[in-house]
Symmetry: C2
Subunit: 386 residues, 2 copies
């Protein structure tokens, strides 16, 4: 029996449903952020972040910082780029536009490589772009929460290493880390930034980054000072290293309760093993996608290669908008999200299938949601005479 | 009976002990950040922030953002100053140095007006400095957590309005908001920035700001774009206004559980009324200061006018360092903090007396801590043969 009160099942692409033990960790009693008990918890949490990314390279560096996922963009933009340097932004939806704006705020030149809605730039286009000018970083949204498009970060990185080996590969993994396959060391990634509230299954409020030794060196070799204070890797690097070495350290007060919750969820996730976790999310995603097809509905990400396993962005039948369907879902105890991509927001809905809703089959969340979707769409079509 | 497990009483200058209901709010079940339930909670929380600051001016604007208190400095530095503009930083300890570094990171010229340790710049010095060049902002650490020095922000603001009326008065209220008197409108302040984990009694992870209409106009009238993305007021202003008007809005996912906890604690604080809360903290502080004097100990803040009511920074007897005394306190169930001011860190300890430890007399925290302090200092002196 869950210790949580009855409530509609949250199946948006983050925040997601929480495990009871994770939520209980949020109520941890007050601790000093520099006392041995919390230092141990935070230090272990950073080591668990390495496991989450299947990384064992000592020069790679995890960061866990108070802030939302968006803060990760500022950390990259203000720490790894200097004014006038170039960033190639692969565009698969809403989040690339915002990341590009963030990069430009700090003085970088962001070039967006755009794909039609639901698609992603081709490997050939990426290779071509990389040959045109020197790029300090390439950014990839692993799963674009606005479209449900999955990028192939492994193959993109192979292209980068072949064509422009010094370009830093920066992955926005906010909606992917914890459910989509990522092998940080093996794939030779430089930065994966994420947030606590999606597939990691922790409440929102933590910006989490994994950085390669190459990325850290790039920061250390800057010619100009970093252009942010709170978002500068320089202010956090020693702090993270100290905590992982079980030494108290202070730059800003860490969010102690959220760190406890992250510790709990990462302990659960890594105990299961990452390959098993990825497989479970693939299976759930396959089930959802099959059900969507069976309902005669299509996805924004039309090509199966492009489809995220974290979520499904579903075109509504012609004549229906999210407000026609979402209340019917809620009535059946399920919360989906409306559209987010500005150009088509009124034409689709988003179904997140991550974390305990997928890994705890006893909850029956996914089957319940599939049934609710079927009934709600049917009901909405009838109400509109479609 | 508390629902929290037995644990040593945390009496550092933040984080502090939590009320049971506040901690229980941290375990709130998953909600969408744009669904009506959470939108109402967040909207009400913003209105409660106004009450916390005793502000009723509609043009004043509260912000509640995922991040630590430090983030508030970046918000000020990147939103309110443009490159080359001047900031006068009143120095009463560690935190002025850091705020000045943050201001300079974003291109401002920070001039520090320093006082000896335990003291604060005089009103005459401040007036003189303001007459020397035009300052866009003046920053004041209301309570410097490193020294326990209280600044008279009301009188400083009077000086500013007389000598340099357009200068924005920015108060670092991280260790003051919720226990030291602040009348935002009446005193004509421009920004008070704070964090959730001190006298407000919420777990750490929220950067909270109250900004005057003058400050917001200053942001809107910038000649150059803001130099941060996550810390730009521009990206949050509409979001905060929408939530307070009960309209969902998205820039970055808010930390939903922390916002619930803030809602709970601000509901408690404002129900009591701010003047009553300030008075209780003054009484507790007077009791602590009298006990410290009775022990023959002195404070870093020697002048009673300069002494914070949130905390007491206590010089240890000659020959004792924090590691001689803190374990004795812990043995007696009480946690104090060591020194933080770099020049004298090994010579003093810090006793935080804020929030439920002060407002819930049944807890007996302050009396227990005073007794533990007396015994621990006596024991440490005996051990050292002093």
């Amino acid at each position: 029996m869950s210790t949580q009160p009855p409530h509609p099942t949250l199946l948006i692409p983050g925040p997601i449903e929480f495990d009871d033990a994770v939520l209980q960790s949020m109520s941890h009693y007050a601790e000093s952020h520099v006392a041995p008990g919390f230092v141990k918890t935070f230090g272990e949490t950073l080591t668990l972040v390495r496991k989450l990314f299947q990384s064992s390279t000592p020069t790679a560096q995890p960061f866990v910082i108070s802030g939302s996922g968006t803060l990760g963009w500022d950390i990259v933009a203000s720490s790894l780029l200097e004014k006038g340097e170039n960033a190639l932004v692969l565009h698969t939806g809403y989040f690339a536009d915002s990341f590009a704006t963030c990069l430009e705020t700090y003085g970088a030149n962001a070039t967006q490589l755009k794909a039609p809605i639901g698609d992603r730039p081709s490997f050939e286009q990426i290779e071509q772009a990389l040959k045109e000018k020197p790029y300090k970083v390439i950014t990839i949204t692993h799963v674009d929460t606005s479209t449900g498009v999955l990028s192939d970060i492994k193959r993109v990185t192979e292209v980068v290493r072949r064509v422009s080996p010094q370009t830093l590969v920066v992955v926005d993994g906010v909606c992917s880390v914890g459910c989509e396959e990522i092998a940080f060391d093996e794939w030779d990634l430089d930065v994966v930034l994420t947030a606590s509230q999606k597939a990691i299954g922790c409440p929102p409020g933590l910006s989490i980054l994994m950085c390669s030794g190459r990325a850290i060196d790039c920061f250390k070799n800057r010619k100009t000072p970093p252009s942010s204070y709170y978002a500068s890797m320089g202010n956090w690097l020693q702090i993270m290293q100290n905590y992982e070495n079980m030494k108290p350290s202070y730059f800003a007060t860490p969010p102690t309760q959220l760190v406890h919750a992250l510790h709990t969820t990462l302990s659960q996730i890594t105990a299961q093993g990452m390959p098993a976790r990825f497989a479970i999310h693939r299976q759930a995603s396959d089930k959802v996608k099959a059900a969507v097809a069976e309902l005669g509905l299509t996805q924004l990400a039309a090509n199966p290669d492009n489809q995220a396993h974290a979520m499904t962005a579903i075109w509504l039948p012609e004549g229906l908008a999210p407000p026609d369907v979402l209340p019917g879902l809620l009535k059946r105890g399920v919360i989906f999200a409306g559209g987010l991509h500005k150009e088509v927001a009124t034409k689709y809905i988003r179904f997140g299938h991550m974390g305990v809703s997928v890994t705890s089959p006893g909850r029956n969340d996914i089957d319940k949601a599939i049934a609710a979707l079927k009934e709600s769409v049917t009901e909405a079509k009838q109400a509109k005479g479609l």
